[in-house]
Symmetry: C2
Subunit: 124 residues, 2 copies
Amino acid sequence: MKNNRKATILNAMALNKKTQFSPLEVRLADFAKALSHPARVAILRVLAERQTCVCGEIVAVLPLAQSTVSQHLKDLKELGLIKGEIDGTRSCYCIDWNAFQEMKNLFQNLLGTLDEMGTKNGCC
Amino acid sequence: MKNNRKATILNAMALNKKTQFSPLEVRLADFAKALSHPARVAILRVLAERQTCVCGEIVAVLPLAQSTVSQHLKDLKELGLIKGEIDGTRSCYCIDWNAFQEMKNLFQNLLGTLDEMGTKNGCC
DNA sequence: ACTTATAATCGTAAATCTACGATATTAAAA
DNA sequence: TTTTAATATCGTAGATTTACGATTATAAGT
């Protein structure tokens, strides 16, 4: 039996602070988390550079076990950054370019805004 | 019971896979991790927008305890994204714009490269 | 039908992250 | 000197992440 979260209400609240932030910040943070492990960045690179959608070639390229790669793929899929479809005995992933654009926009917006502010008011 | 994994050293290795990736990917991933919590993004926003360097005003703005904010600040500082100096009884933080530029470049490079590849070879 | 190949999922362990309250620390104010 | 205010740090608990091997599921090949 998994998912046996006993969490009294107090406990649950204490560790769910993310909901206190704006949805956009949270979305940005989630995308950032996707990029927060080199394996996932590498996966995105591989998926982008191959003409055809790749499946277990990713495993061959990464220094990780098959199950670990599979888990990273699952994470990326749940975020929506990649899509996967089964093709016979192998499954084929590719980047969801809509989600990718969303991510790119969020990052560029943040970094651009900060940069702008920074050049305007230098403090340190 | 089942597999007694011995090898302390092997166990240690097992969880340090990041070193198997390129330093640049790891650096990028570290910056991404900095942005992977809305609180830290919010902190960067506050630091950028204020004319003077801020200290505990951040605590006032965030829905987190003082000690928690302090820890996020420490994380950002250890990454090098922000600098902090003590001014009397309060301590004053600001963004390290060199590190920020490095981060911005890494992100733009990644996102730009992927985007380029994506428009060239659409697969799904 | 049997075997093989591919990939997802399960179970687990260690590490890290998030969060808080409590406790220092330290400079300024009284 | 004593008190206050601002922060950093410590200890800790619970959640999540990372990683692996083992197992399962399924399609394809023999």
